[in-house]
Symmetry: C2
Subunit: 319 residues, 2 copies
C-alpha cells in the first residue's frame, strides 16, 4: 500500500477538481490547490470539499496566491492546468520549479511532454523528483505505464482512437446517418464537444497524445513535437463516406498512430467489428510489441474522475 | 532501465523455454535451468540456445540435477512447471525454498496462487523476496499489474474470456456452423487444443485464472481456491445455440467473472460486437473500477513468447 503523499494541485477544472476530491480515498493529502487566479494552502491538508464548492459557487478556490502553491511543502505537484502548445507555458515552468526543488511532478497537462519532451527529461535527470504523465494520454487507460512495463524498445507502434469527441461524432454519424454539422451540435448540447471544438475535431488533441507516445517509444533517441505530426481531422468526412463504408461492413474512425519514426492522425476505414471501431466517447490503444503480440487497451479516455484516477495511479507508482 | 538479474528457470516447456530464449534481450542472465529430470547450472550464465536445442533434440536440458537449480545463486526463481491443483506441489515447495532463501519468485504456474494464496502471501511476508504472477493470468495481457496499479480495493470485478482453446472452439462453431466435436478435432490438429482438452473445455483453466484474480481483489480479506468456483465448460453448447444466438446478432463465449465475493465461469450469450466477443484464441479482461470506469485489456492469452514476456515484465517490476 502506498504511503500517503502530500499533493499540490494546479488547475481547478474537471481533472484538478476530481484529484482534490479523490485524493483522500487514495490515502493522500492535498496541501495546496490553485486555479488561475487564487489558491488555498494548508500544510495539514486543505478542506477539499469546501475548496471545490467555493470554486463552483464563487469561481475561486481560496484567498491565497497561486504562486504560494509552487512554494508550498509538498511531495508531488499535480499539473492539471490547460494544455498549451509551443513553449508549453506556464505548465512547463510549474514543472521546472517543482523539479528544481526535487519534488515529483504528475502531469495531466499534455504540453510539456508533447512539445518539450527532451527538456522535461533533462530537468528530471538533474532532479531527485520523477515525472509521470499517464493522465496526459488516454485518460483512465493505463497506456504509458503498460509501455513502460513492456519496455519502450519492445513496442513498435501505438495506434488508436484517442479523442472521444471526434469518435462520438463519427459513431453517431454512422449510427444515425446524420451529417457532421448536426451531430456536432448534438455533441455540444451533451457537453461532449466544446463550444469551440477545433482542438478535438481537427485532430490536434489526438495528435498531441500520439506525439507523447512517440516520444515515449523513441526513449530519448529523438524528440517529437506537434509540428512533426501529419494530422487530418474529421471536419471533411461526409455522411456519405460512412454510408458507403457501412455497405461494406466497415466504418470510419479518427485513428492516430505513433512509432519511433513519427506520428500520423487521420480518418481511416476500419472493419465495423474491429477493435478500433469503439463507439461513443470510448478510447482505445493498440500496442504492437516484439514479444507480447498485439495488446488492446480501451476505456474512458476523458472525464474528471477517470483522468484523476490516472493521476492518482501515477502518484502510486512514484518511487 | 532495469538492472540485469540472475534468473533460475524451472520448467522447460513452451514458457520456460521462451523465458530462457528471451532473457538476454531483456538484459538478464539465466544461471540455472531445469526440466523435470535434468538441469544446467552456470553462475556465469548458461548457453541458452544450447540448452533449448538439447531439450528439443534429446529431451533434457543438461547433465545437472534439478535440485541444483533450487540451491544455485540467483536473484529470481521463474516457476514455469506445470500447474497442479490441491497442494500445488511441487511448484509450491519450489516457491517456498526460494522465499526462505530471500529470493524473488515469478510464477507462470497458476497452482500456488490459485490453490494456496494465503500461504504464498504469508511466506512472502516473512521473506525479503517478492512474488509476482502476471504470467499466470492471461498470458501477455497485463491484468494483474493493472489491478495492482489501480489498487485492488478500487476494482469491483474482473470479467473476461480467459481460455483461448474454448474461445477458438466457440468462435469456429459460430463462424462455420460446425458442431463441437468437429471443431475440437480441428483445434487439436492445429495445436490449439491438447490431446486431453479437459482442462480447457471444462472451464477449469479459465476458473483457475478467475480464482487468482478473486484472490487479488480480496487482498487478504479472504482466500479462494478452485473449489470455490462455480464452473461450467463448453462441452454441452450445441451448434444450434450459436445459430439461434446469431439470428439475434449475438454469440456465445465462455466468460469468467471474479469479484471479492466469488468466481463464476460459464457459457454466456453476448452481443456479437461486444468486447467480450473476441475471436480465435485471443483473451480479454474487463475490469470494473470505482473511478476509472470500465477498462478492457485484450491480447494473446497463451503461447510461449507472450507468456514469457509477462514473466520478464514481472522481473522488471521487482523491487
Amino acid at each position: 500500500m502506498t504511503a500517503g503523499k502530500r499533493l499540490a494541485v494546479l488547475g481547478a477544472g474537471a481533472v484538478g477538481g476530481a484529484v482534490v476530491d479523490l485524493a483522500a480515498a487514495y490515502g493522500h493529502t492535498v496541501v495546496a490547490f490553485a486555479d488561475s487566479a487564487s489558491a488555498v494552502v494548508d500544510a495539514g491538508g486543505i478542506d477539499a470539499d469546501a475548496a471545490v464548492d467555493r470554486k463552483a459557487a464563487e469561481g475561486h478556490v481560496g484567498d491565497d496566491d497561486p504562486e504560494d502553491v509552487l512554494h508550498a511543502d509538498y511531495d508531488v505537484l499535480v499539473e492539471a492546468t490547460p494544455t498549451t502548445l509551443g513553449d508549453a507555458e506556464p505548465g512547463f515552468s510549474h514543472l521546472r520549479t517543482a523539479l528544481e526543488r526535487d519534488r515529483h511532478v504528475v502531469l495531466a497537462n499534455k504540453g510539456p511532454v508533447a512539445e518539450r519532451y527532451a527538456d522535461v527529461r533533462e530537468l528530471e535527470h538533474d532532479s531527485e523528483g520523477e515525472v509521470r504523465f499517464e493522465a496526459a494520454v488516454g485518460g483512465a487507460i493505463p497506456i504509458v505505464s503498460t509501455v513502460e512495463d513492456l519496455g519502450p524498445s519492445r513496442v513498435t507502434a501505438a495506434r488508436g482512437v484517442l479523442n472521444g469527441t471526434a469518435n462520438f461524432i463519427l459513431s453517431r454519424m454512422a449510427a444515425e446517418g446524420i451529417d457532421y454539422e448536426h451531430v456536432l451540435a448534438e455533441a455540444q448540447d451533451l457537453g461532449v464537444a466544446e463550444a469551440d471544438p477545433t482542438f478535438d475535431v481537427e485532430g490536434t488533441d489526438a495528435a498531441l497524445k500520439c506525439v507523447i507516445l512517440a516520444n515515449v517509444l523513441a526513449a530519448g533517441d529523438r524528440e517529437f513535437t506537434l509540428s512533426d505530426a501529419d494530422v487530418e481531422g474529421i471536419t471533411n468526412v461526409p455522411g456519405s463516406a460512412l454510408e458507403l463504408a457501412a455497405e461494406d461492413g466497415r466504418t470510419v474512425r479518427l485513428v492516430g498512430e505513433a512509432t519511433r519514426e513519427g506520428i500520423r492522425v487521420g480518418p481511416r476505414l476500419v472493419p465495423g467489428n474491429a477493435a478500433l471501431a469503439v463507439t461513443g466517447t470510448r478510447n482505445i490503444v493498440q500496442l504492437e510489441t516484439d514479444y507480447a503480440g498485439q495488446l488492446n487497451l480501451s476505456g474512458r479516455g476523458a472525464g474528471g474522475e477517470p483522468t484523476a484516477s490516472a493521476v492518482l495511479g501515477d502518484v502510486g507508482r512514484l518511487g
